[in-house]
Amino acid sequence: MSGVYEGRAWVFGDHVSTDQILPGAYLDRPMEEVGTYAMAGLDPTFRSRVQPGDIVVAGVNFGCGSSREAAVMALKQAGVAAVVARSFGRIFFRNAINNGFPAAIVADTRAIRAGDRLRLDIPSRALVHLRTGETTPLLNLTGTSLEILEAGGIVPFTLRRLGAAR
């Protein structure tokens, strides 16, 4: 995994809940299908307009609420490459990392507009705002969470960990 993601920004506000990212009405669907309903509770046009490699940008507390992992899987299956926010609901963050899906925290996302091109460079620990040229440092993705992300998720990470213990 190179850890560098370049794509178009989708900008959302503060406190976007997992009830909005993947509404309860679709909780009874198989995990392989949830991508069809990504952001259904917030922007029903998102699914038809999102492009592979796009980056979701949000304010504070993105992914708050329910622990439903389907919220992460819906974004991932819809082609979203990464999420950047000022803070995350901690279970959403863990779910993201656990599925090899980058969820990066930066101090401020308010200058980013819909459609701006961004480069999330995890090895360099930076978010580059390609419209303004501004570079912002990443505030998370260190220690164990980075190891899990780099392993591609908690399942490959744990398989390796158990193998090493043997």
Partner: protein, 417 residues
Amino acid sequence: MTAMTLTEKIIARAAGRDAVRPGDEVWAAVDLAAMHDSSGPRRIAGILEQFGGRLWDPQKIVLAIDHFAPAANQRHAEIVKLTRDWARARALPQFFDSVGVMHNLLLEEGLAHPGTLVVGADSHTVTAGAAGALAVGVGATELATVLVTGQIWLRVPPTVRIHFEGPLPDYLTARDMAMEVLRRLRADFAIYKAVEFTGPAVEGLELDERAVLANQAIEMGAKNGIVPPSGAVLERLGPAARAQGRPLAGDESAAYDDEHRIAMASVVPLVAVPPNVDNVVPVTALAGLELDRVYIGSCVGGKAADLRAAARVLRGRQARVPLQITPATRRVVEEALRDGTLETLLASGAIVQAPGCGACAGLHSGLLGPRERCLGTVTRNFPGRMGDPSAELYLASPLTAAASAVTGRITDPREFL
């Protein structure tokens, strides 16, 4: 010795260390792992197979069918069946089949012990903090790895203390206490932190009410909410609490990330206005707002204490709008039957449904239609949480919910107490 908060002590014990500090990352031994029909077998069976299908310790695993029962359609029925078959094939000793919400069962059945580490595949797993456990929610995949290894990695959270001063007035419940915290500090003040609830108003709370504080910690953004066991609750939890030197309280000189004092005399009955849990105003600011219906239920608002509180207001009165009650567990119904609460509720015109998550999980049993306006004791009021994204879901205490059912409008419970 390093002085530690209760949360830090529990992590240190689980990690086999003398001491931990906020920011440390540790691998911790899990005492209890819990999941339900939504986050459980349907999501994890395939993952477990990758590890050979062996469970770390079936005695320490709890599975409850609570989200999809009673099944509203064929898809739900298949999920319930799959869950039951999985539990039976493994003769899982702690399997609860459609008798209540996992979070409430952990407390009711005495499964969550003080000073232990509880991990559950649901955000409201934090509810078990009411018993003085460190209870954290995770997603299904991570829970699967816990079921295999018995371990989880944790970053030690800084602890914020919320100290409630003075006795709890009879027109307030723990839900008002939690909403007052959200009103003052907002929904993200505790992200990546632990919240510890203390003070005279907390000491006097029964386990059901402590569960409200711990439960709502997730709406504050917290990793966990914890109430140090004390008084009658400690007596009730006693035998488990005394086992194996488990921590029951933090050190006097422990360092808190922040401390907030709330005088109960300054708190009034509150309502959380959609679309957010921290959009909290005094009930008087909304008094008279017409409601389509009232809903009492969920892990936070469908406990025996909630039904009793509603009955205090509803005794001798009639609900003017549909009043739907989803008891959290079957035992809640039994208790309400025994102490006369059920009779009072039914006499008021309330409908009592099957125990479980009910409409709060957004799956069945009374979802809201477009622009329908409801006041509920449920966990969250996010758009689409309990039905159509355009529905208006107001959150309040069971006292306020009952008073509002009587008038059909948002109503201050002090008018009826």
